[in-house]
């Protein structure tokens, strides 16, 4: 029997992950023993685990450490992202609790899968090795393929799952190939190792490998964050998926993809900023233009939100790539984190309102269905208005500060033109966001819809809207949080 030494592992670093994965397995058992038609209890247990995981992270603030041979870190950057993801998941669980039985697709595995997806996202935030990043991304993607098709007797849901699966598999192919080339060029899969190797200079024949690998990896992540030339799947998948899943996808995949991309670009390929900076800047501009301009033409609100999420991917990308420039290194990361938080809350809130309007068998997603919402459900109308203002970036909301942050970051990074494109596209975007507000407050109802607003959904919507307005009025705590988070991204 040969000696196999088990390396010393700091389980604290993976504590949140362990709670989430362990929780998911407990949920599977809880599902087994909970009665038919009463799966809400599983959802409540899931919430418990999410809260527990969030609390478990508190002692590790400002105590960056890594374990598993440097494959997993828990610095403030990762911790902040983990909290954002946990918050998004909690809201997603809240808004699905009543939605699933109403749609007749209530099954306990839903919550377990959500937690597994959350674990994948946290791995992407914490991973510092290409293999771990890939596994995290696959964990997230496979879960989402299933969740997108969760309402599978419905054809649109099947279509969404199928499209997402095909595109996702395609993207994973790019990613793996890129990782292989990067490994071939540098001989290591660790991000810090790659940075070291690049710092000490590559052999001439390895440079081509490194560049091709980096390009392929960026393409692979580009699919996940729906960056411009790779965004085609987004509207169809969001439209077909069950609405809470679409909400989760729009904030989850995007946030996690950006987290991994940020670490990859800034830590491993930081020295190559001159190469990827401009390319990504152009792609960010194209993303913003395509997303926002296409959204103008939509009359289906769910599709409109999908296109707008493409546009927001452009803004977030702006923050990430600005961080690559030494002039805006901190500002860019802060902008990215702040924007991600604001965007997550806002988008979840908007989708939650859609859920309230969605009846079984038919989907109230047309613009007309919002007409006169103020007269019927003032609470929903106000929440939706707040979210729309925040998405548009109107001052007293969190969205405004997010946009402000990323634009100044781009400006400081010397990408003034990009900031200008961002401002112009924001103005375009304001048109279709405000259109919904006009519909809600100034029109009369076109047809009779009885929104179903239960307690859990109300908590979800309220939490999101409250976050949007509170962080908009007094952003200082969040700013402190994100400013604390950039320090640890050691370079």
């Amino acid at each position: 029997m040969p000696d196999i030494q088990i390396p010393s592992i700091d389980l604290g670093v993976s504590l949140q992950l362990l709670i989430i994965f362990g929780g998911a397995m407990v949920l599977l058992l809880a599902d087994l023993f909970s009665g038919e038609g009463n799966k809400r209890i599983v959802g409540y247990i899931a919430l418990l685990f999410v809260v527990g995981a969030a609390a478990a992270g508190v002692p590790y603030w400002d105590a960056p450490r890594s374990t598993f041979n440097g494959m997993l870190v828990l610095d403030n950057f990762a911790l902040t992202l983990n909290w954002i993801f946990l918050l998004s998941t909690a809201i997603t669980i809240l808004i699905s609790l009543e939605y699933l039985p109403r749609q007749g697709i209530e099954r306990g595995e839903y919550y377990a899968l959500l937690l597994f997806a959350l674990g994948g996202m946290m791995l992407l935030a914490q991973g510092t090795d290409l293999i771990v990043l890939f596994l995290g991304l696959e964990l997230l993607s496979i879960t989402l393929y299933v969740l997108a098709g969760f309402a599978y007797p419905r054809l649109s849901s099947e279509e969404a799952a199928m499209k997402y699966l095909l595109i996702g598999a395609f993207a994973a192919g790019f990613l793996v190939f890129g990782i292989a080339l990067l490994y071939g060029a540098t001989g290591t899969s660790s991000l810090a190792g790659i940075a070291n190797k690049l710092g000490s200079g590559l052999a001439a024949d390895d440079v081509a490998f490194m560049l091709a690998g980096a390009a392929l990896v960026i393409i692979g992540f580009g699919y996940k964050i729906s960056m411009a030339p790779f965004h085609m799947w987004t509207p169809d998948v969001y439209e077909g998926s069950p609405t809470p899943v679409a909400a989760f996808m729009s904030v989850g995949t995007k946030g996690a993809g950006f987290a991994a991309l940020a670490r990859l670009l800034l830590v491993a390929l930081g020295s190559q900023y001159a190469t990827w900076g401009l390319i990504l800047a152009i792609l960010a501009a194209v993303t913003m233009v395509i997303g926002n301009v296409s959204a103008v033409a939509q009359t289906n609100v769910k599709r409109m939100l999908a296109y707008s999420s493409i546009g927001h991917a452009g803004y977030i990308l702006m923050g990430v790539l600005s961080a690559g420039s030494p002039a805006a290194a901190n500002r860019g990361i802060e902008g990215f984190l702040f924007y991600l938080l604001a965007y997550s809350l806002t988008n979840l809130g908007a989708f939650a309102v859609l859920i309230a309007l969605e009846q079984r068998g038919e989907a109230a997603w047309s613009l007309d269905d919002f007409a006169g919402l103020w007269h019927r459900q003032p609470f929903l109308a106000i929440a939706m208005a707040l979210c729309m203002f925040s998405l548009a970036g109107v001052p007293p909301t969190a969205g405004f500060w997010g946009k402000f942050y990323v634009f100044t970051a781009a400006w400081e990074a010397g990408l003034q033109w990009l900031a200008v494109v961002g401002v112009i596209t924001s103005a375009i975007a304001a048109f279709f966001y405000l259109r919904i507000i006009v519909q809600m407050f100034m029109r009369d109802p076109v047809r009779e819809i009885s929104p179903s607003l239960d307690r859990n959904l109300m908590i979800g919507v309220g939490l999101a809207a409250l976050g949007v307005i509170v962080f908009g009025i007094s952003p200082t705590p969040v700013i402190d949080l994100v400013q604390g988070s950039v320090l640890a991204l050691s370079r």
Binding site: M1, D3, I4, Q5, I6
Partner: protein, 439 residues
């Protein structure tokens, strides 16, 4: 020696080429003869069980019947259906049978008689035996016949399902012994039943420390043997070629020599896996006297070991025939339920028992400072009272795993007592609607 050979034959690659050719030739001669013996044996035994005589005209006791069959097969017309896919139809028997013959390359036939000694031969057996499923699929599809396709689908579904418990059963033995080399299994199974090699300083090697006498080995052997029956399509599991349902399954459109090749593949597969089971679970060529014989006169010992191992494999084959004479065929859903609901959980529990056994054997042996077994609970070694005596540890491991495995076996038996889909409520409903409960 190599230098000497080189002087005679020239460069070393020629030597190795010749060596490989010789062993290949031996395998290619021995396996078909084994197959012919097996067909005769099976027919005689089944006849005996059914109170008739069986083939007894050709040669002494009908021993040459297989030769006569071979001549018949060679001279029969070789039919290829017009609508069949000719190449796929032609190659399928080769793809199904070729891998089976590969298996014999890594299986040690006796002491020092392994054609190729690779380090991962257990894995090789698992991997290569899964290839022939492709051949069955090709045969079923290439015949362009719905019975053939159905048979192939059944065969492959069955093979894939039963491969999992089989692999896990083997894996528990790999964990138990720490090696994947078939050659090493035999030397680990010397000594006494239950106690194994632990008393080898006191009592001479009796060659009876077979793993089948340990709880883990017993459960593993049962699972593996049942899976062999299924993968080789032996009787309780011969659904893919159930002649009352789908003619002859994937072999429906085959005739003459191509049919014979398929048939040979099936029989040799049974034999090869019986041999693997004998090596891993039944002590290989261990038997009282054999270890001593090997150490005194290696050539005679090698011969005797081959005979012992062959006898064990033939005994397992006899059990297969016995089962064929005794049991009816299962239904498809019963077959699947048995694999997934009984064998698989039992195999998983078995692998856990193997890990427990290993822990008991290794935890804090020696001075308890050496890796990897240095864990203590609060500074106290929880297995310290066992000391360093392997006998004591082996006995404790035996008792604990016996309790666990027996408990698991009876629990699963109890859980599965009623076949899937046949709860009283279901049966009542089926009666009311006149529907079958088949999926």
């Amino acid at each position: 020696m190599l230098q000497f050979l080189e002087n005679i034959f020239g460069p070393s690659w020629i030597v190795s080429l010749i060596a490989f050719l010789i062993s290949t030739t031996v395998i290619l001669i021995v396996t078909p003869v084994t197959f012919m013996m097996m067909t005769w044996f099976e027919r005689r035994i089944v006849a005996r069980m059914q109170d008739r005589l069986g083939p007894n005209r050709v040669g002494p006791a009908g021993l040459l019947q297989a030769v006569a069959d071979g001549v018949k097969m060679f001279t029969k017309e070789n039919i290829t259906p017009r609508a069949a896919d000719k190449w796929v139809h032609l190659i399928a028997p080769l793809v199904a049978t070729g891998p089976v013959i590969f298996l014999f390359a890594v299986i040690p036939w006796g002491y020092g008689l392994s054609p190729v000694d690779i380090n991962v031969s257990v894995l090789f057996v698992i991997a290569v035996s899964s290839i022939s499923a492709v051949g069955l699929m090709m045969g079923g599809w290439g015949s362009n016949n719905k019975f053939a396709l159905l048979g192939a689908m059944r065969a492959v579904a069955q093979m894939v399902s039963y491969e999992i418990p089989a692999v896990i059963a083997l894996l528990s033995m790999v964990l138990f012994t720490g090696t994947m080399n078939l050659n090493k299994y035999t030397e680990l199974q010397g000594g006494l039943p239950i106690l194994g090699n632990t008393l080898k300083d006191v009592i001479p090697d009796l060659g009876l420390g077979w793993f089948v006498f340990t709880p883990i080995g017993l459960v593993g052997f049962m699972i593996f043997f049942i899976c062999i029956l299924s993968e080789g399509e032996r009787t309780p599991f011969d659904i893919p070629e159930a002649d009352s349902e789908i003619v002859a399954g994937y072999m429906t459109e085959y005739s003459g020599m191509k049919f014979a090749v398929f048939y040979m593949g099936q029989f040799l597969f049974n034999y090869a896996l019986s041999m693997v089971a004998s090596i891993i679970f039944l002590g290989g060529w261990n038997f009282p006297g054999i270890p001593q014989l090997i150490s005194i006169a290696p050539p005679i010992g090698a011969l005797a070991s081959a005979v012992v191992l062959g006898a064990k494999a033939w005994f397992l084959f006899f059990v297969m025939i016995w089962l064929r004479g005794a049991f009816p065929r299962l239904r498809m859903d019963q077959l699947m339920a048995f694999a997934w609901k009984f064998l698989l959980p039992l195999a998983l529990i078995n692998i856990l028992s193997a890990a427990l056994w290993l822990t008991i054997m290794l935890w804090c042996t020696g001075d308890c400072t050496q890796n990897p077994w240095v864990f203590t609970v609060g500074g106290i070694n929880p297995l310290g009272w066992l000391g360093n005596s392997p006998v004591l540890r082996q006995l404790v491991g035996f008792v604990l795993t016996a309790i666990i495995n027996a408990g698991a076996f009876f629990w699963l038996l109890n859980v599965n007592r009623r076949p899937a889909g046949e709860t009283p409520a279901d049966l009542a409903r089926d009666q009311a609607f006149g529907t079958a409960s088949l999926p």
